[in-house]
Every structure is written in C-alpha cells, then in structure tokens.
C-alpha cells in the first residue's frame, strides 16, 4: 500500500532540517516555537512549515495545545520563544492575506449575510479595495459556498451549516494565501460535516489558498489534508508527520484511506504507551 504515506519520525533534528529546506519557498514557517501560560508549558520546540496551496491538518486530542498553536501561527498570540514568518515577514499580528474560521461561525446578528461576508474588508489594516471590487468578491465567495440568493438573509434565518458557509465565504472574500481553520466543522452533524469538508477542499483549490486545519478527527484529516501533523505529548510537540498521497476524491480509495488510518492509530497507540511508560 505505497499510496498512503511516508511516516516521518518526529525528532527535532529532522523537523529543523525540513524547515530549513522549505524556508525559501514556504508560505509560513515556524521555528522553535514555545508557548507557556504563566509557568505552564503548552507546547515546546515546535517547528513546521506550510507551502503555498498546501492543505495541512494538525491532528491531536483535546487539550494537546493544537488550537493554541494555531492561534500563535495566525498571529493572535505571541509565542514565548521562537518566531513565525509569513510571506517571508516576521508575523506580529494577523496578516491581511490570512483568514480564520472557527468552530463557531461568529456571524454578527445585526448584519445580513452579505455584510457579514464583507465584514472586515474595509478595516484600516486591510489592503484598500474599491467598493465595487469588494462587492464582486463577496458575491463570488457566497456563490462558491452555495449561498447565492441568500445575500439578504439574516444570520438567525440560517442553519448551522449555512452559517459556517458564510464564515467560509467571509474568509474567502479576503482572498487569503492561508486559511486557518480551528475545528470548523466539529459542531455540525455528520452529513453536513462531510459536505463542508468537500466544499472546503473545493474552494481552497479554486482560491489557490493553503490551509492549516486543526482537527481531532482522524477521518477528517485523511479526507481533507495533503499532509498530516500529529500533535501530542506534554508539553505538546509535533510527534509524527504523514504525506497523504491518496488521489481525490478520497472516498473512492477506501483501501489507501484505511491503511493510513491504521498507521495513524498505531502511532497514537505508541505515543500513549510511551506516555504511560514515562509516568511509571
């Protein structure tokens, strides 16, 4: 089953070497990131890079620090040590060419769908664009997520899946180079979630955007990502990495998907065994 994966040992030296070779053409690179809440280390020595148009899943259990890592990589929090570079610039606050979606759609209830999708485009730290361009971008993004004709609806009239589509359109309207997605579909039912996963892959390909998808769902990571980073340990770190070489749509290659799934589960078991051995 060579279709599936190249497991990479997660030791720091290898990660550093990978980061070094990718710095020149990486969209986002992170070097030796540490993050602490007071004295409590959340993650330590995290280095990674994301290439243009690449979909990277950051997979880990609850409380492993993956959401905090996303917030640091997105510029919402400053690392305790280390550096994040985006488009070859040190990152100090969220970059205009990046966008975020969260588990909560966070639509503003006093704005109609169209105004929600356009929200933030006219902020001072965003590149100035003409009102006409802004509107065509927003319409295009709403059409891409299947909400053409719903521009004038209020958020209260939308289902959870539709609200998340508006949040996705709001991100796309910014024409991001990199989309940060923090468990964006975990509050949705299984059927809507599957639809949204396919939609996400479809639109980021059309928008030529890269994605960092934080998820605790192994299947979601395998179905969506080009590359999977497994996060775990205490304090957290990147434990393993797989490249997903399964052609899309991945649902059509159950053998390859299952093989990769078992590999990831085996890696999870190993880290669990190591962790408990460490306690003993």
């Amino acid at each position: 089953m060579n279709a599936a994966a190249r497991p990479a040992p997660g030791n720091a030296a290898d990660a550093d070497a990978a980061a070094a070779t990718e710095t020149s053409h990486g969209l986002l690179t992170a070097d030796g990131l540490d993050f602490r809440y007071g004295a409590l280390p959340v993650f330590t020595e995290v280095s990674l890079s994301i290439r243009r148009r690449e979909i990277v899943a950051l997979l880990g259990g609850s409380g492993c620090g993956k959401s905090t890592l996303l917030r640091v990589l997105a510029g919402l929090e400053s690392p305790s040590a280390g550096q994040v570079r985006f488009l070859d610039q040190p990152l100090e606050r969220p970059h205009p060419r990046s966008a975020l979606i969260f588990q909560h759609a966070s639509l503003l209830p006093w704005l109609r769908v169209e105004a929600n999708a356009a929200f933030g485009l006219d902020f001072r730290h965003q590149p100035a664009i003409a009102a006409g361009v802004r509107q065509s971008r927003v319409r295009e993004a709403l059409a891409a997520v299947g909400l053409a004709g719903r521009e004038h609806a209020w958020p209260a009239e939308l289902s959870g899946g539709q609200a998340q589509r508006v949040a996705l359109a709001r991100a796309l309207a910014r024409e991001p180079e990199l989309l940060f997605a923090d468990e964006p579909f975990s509050a949705l039912d299984a059927i809507t979630r599957a639809e949204m996963q396919n939609l996400l892959v479809d639109v980021v390909h059309r928008w030529h955007a890269a994605v960092l998808l934080v998820t605790h769902d192994i299947d979601e990571a395998i179905l969506v990502a080009d590359r999977i980073l497994l996060m775990g340990g205490r304090p957290g770190g990147i434990l393993a990495e797989w490249t997903v070489d399964v052609p899309r749509p991945r649902e059509d290659h159950p053998g390859a998907v299952t093989a990769l799934r078992l590999e990831i589960l085996a890696a999870l078991r190993d880290t669990f065994t190591q962790a408990t051995a460490g306690v003993d």
Binding site: A74, L76, P109
Partner: protein, 251 residues
C-alpha cells in the same frame, strides 16, 4: 386570558381609580371646602380647556426639549463610560464604589449647587436630568459589554481590527439592545425628576406650570396638569418600549 378581558381589565382599573379620586375629593370637601376643586370632573374639564390653548403646548414643548437634551447628555456620557467600564477591569475597579455612591444620591440634592454653579435657567435642569439618567445607561452598557459574545471579539482580532473599529463595528452594535434598555429606564427616571427640577429657577415647563396653577389658585388646572404629566410619561415609556421591541425584532 381572553383578548377582550385583556382590553377591559386596564380600563376597569382606570375607572376604579377615577371613582376613588371622585370619592376622595368629595369626602375631603366636607372638611376642606376647597378640595372640591380637585374633583375629577372639574380637572378633566380644565384639561380639555388647556389642551386647546397654545400656552400649555409651549410648556409641554419646553419640558420635552429638556427631556431630549438631558437624555442626550446622559447617553453621550453614559455609553462611553459604560463601554470603558466593560472593557477595562482597571477602570471598573477604580470607579465601582464611586459610581454606586453617586447613584444613590438623589439627583435633586444637587439642585442648590447646580443653580449656584450653572446659574438660573435651563443649564441646571439639564444637569439634574442627565445626572439622574446616566446611571441606568452606564450600568446597562457595562453589563452589555460583559455579556458580549467573546467569539465576536476574537473575530475582530483575527481581522486586525483597530481598537476603534472593534468598538464601533462590534461592541456598540452588539450591545445596542442593552443600551436601549438603559435608555428606556433613563427616560422614566428623567420624566420623574423633570417636574421637581422645573420647580426652581425656570419660567416654563410642566413643573413650573404646576406651581403656577397653585399660585393662581387654579386647582382644577393643577389636577389637569398632573393627569397630563402622567399621560405624557405613559406615552413616552410606550414609545421607548416600542423602539426597543422593534430593534430586537429587526435582529
């Protein structure tokens, strides 16, 4: 409750009050003959007469203008202070006991000082009304900020919103319902404070008019003015409630 009853009960309550008013005035008139001037029939007749006079409407207009100006000052001061209290724990800590203290001082206590500092005329009335009305606006605004959806603030942060953009585009629209609740309470307080505040150092307005009827011994007109003050306050409160509901439904 059947809809007809819902309509009839309030009318019944008003009719009962009218009967008690009539009875009270009649009983009182036995020992104090002048009390007969306070009876409902005379008062309503005087009210009908007054409503046809331009002078009364001038007093009403002056009073409503004072309400509007006092409310505008209260909003202009209460909303920014409320937002500041809501977003800055330091400011909230520093001002908490002070605000609770000032809130509990009857605004009319400031009347002598207000007249001394601001002189005779509209200015001390504006001050008293604004001072009375600022608290519900300030406290409701601060409560609104405290209850704001944290995800909206995270969204603003992810869009690199400036502090000003966060306040004007997320916080203020997000707490409009709370501000409107504060404004509705403020209108009620202003209306109650208005009449006594207009009894000193001004020569127009409903409070002045009540003292004027007393000086002219026009007791039927005095009672008419009391009824009018109640009716206008009732209408003001309903207008404020209607605006509040309209906003909530608009969302």
């Amino acid at each position: 409750m059947p809809p007809r009853l819902r309509f009839l009960l309030p009318l019944g309550g008003l009719a009962a009050a009218l009967a008690l008013w009539w009875l009270g005035a009649a009983l009182l008139a036995r020992s104090i003959p002048i009390a007969s001037h306070f009876a409902p029939l005379g008062a309503l007749r005087a009210l009908a007469g007054l409503l046809g006079e331009a002078l009364l409407w001038e007093h009403v207009a002056v009073s409503l203008k004072r309400v509007a100006v006092g409310l505008a000052f209260a909003i202009a001061i209460g909303v920014p202070l409320g937002v500041l209290t809501g977003i800055s724990a330091l400011f909230a800590q520093a001002t908490g006991p002070l605000f609770q203290f000032l809130r509990m001082v009857s605004p009319l206590s400031w009347m002598p000082i207000a007249v001394m500092v601001l002189g005779i005329g509209d200015a001390p009335v504006y001050f008293l009304l604004a001072f009375a009305a600022v608290w519900p606006i300030l406290l409701n605004t601060a409560a609104g900020v405290a209850q704001l959806d944290r995800n909206w603030l995270l969204l603003a942060k992810s869009l690199s919103a400036t502090r000003f953009e966060t306040i004007t585009r997320v916080i203020l629209p997000g707490i409009t319902a709370h501000i409107l609740t504060g404004v509705r309470l403020a209108i009620g307080i202003i209306w109650i404070i208005l009449v006594p505040a207009e009894m000193l150092g001004v020569d127009a307005g409903l409070g002045y008019f009540i003292l004027d009827t007393r000086d002219r011994l026009a007791y039927a007109e005095l009672m008419a003015a009391v009824v009018l003050v109640g009716a206008l306050g009732f209408l003001l409160d309903h207008a404020a409630r209607w605006l509040h509901r309209r906003w909530l439904h608009g969302r």
